[in-house]
Point group: C2
Chain length 104, copies 2
């Protein structure tokens, strides 16, 4: 419950949040995508948080239905993973979403 | 030394060898690429081998200079990772290489 609250707080406080793992290329791809379009994401590296990271990943699955990384939130809303985010960008929807939220 | 020999044996006995991790999307991508072109790769899932897997990954780094997964061998020759293999395929070089070795 406390972790759940902490996730909700994090995604409401930062326009773009990525739950990631440092060794994961899909996570790297999505991090650099945002940087390429001029947005600085708030990144949480789950593998650097030990047991807490494992718990956090479980809480995210509970909240979003997604058990994998990267797990992306924009404007507090769950977006999905790497493929979802890239597809959104290819459809022109990502920039649209970010500008509607005055993120970029 | 024994693990080094085991790697050399494995890559000489199987036309396509992929050192992989079960949770890794880059590893999944390269495994499915080969299946798509009709080649059954010999896959070693490093994360399923416990401490041996960690050692194996170190030995591969020693042998190939590559510390990451997926680590791909064709005809006993070190090819590279996911991006390298995909690029080879996009250049038409992958199928060429496989047919030269009578793999497909
Ligand atoms: N299609 C998904 C794939 C997500 C996925 O399979 N992620 C892997 C890492 S690449 C994962 O979370 N594996 C389990 C883990 O690391 O706990 C995406 O584009 O994000
Ligand atoms: N560009 C390389 C990236 C390889 C890479 O960074 N692999 C990651 C997993 S996606 C890795 O091995 N991380 C360290 C580890 O898992 O031990 C490729 O295309 O294969
Ligand atoms: S761990 Fe390899 S792509 Fe995520």
């Amino acid at each position: 419950a406390r972790m759940e609250e902490s996730v909700k707080k994090t995604v409401s406080e930062h326009p773009v949040v990525i739950y990631s793992k440092t060794w994961c290329s899909y996570s790297s791809e999505v991090k650099s995508l945002f940087k390429r379009i001029g947005v600085e994401p708030h990144v949480i590296e789950l593998d650097q948080l030990g047991a807490q990271g494992t718990q956090l990943q479980r809480v995210l699955e509970m909240l979003t239905g997604q058990s994998t990384v990267p797990n992306v939130f924009i404007g507090g809303k769950h977006i999905g993973g790497c493929s979802d985010t890239i597809k959104l960008h290819q459809d022109g929807e990502l920039k649209k979403l970010l500008s509607e939220l005055n993120i970029t």
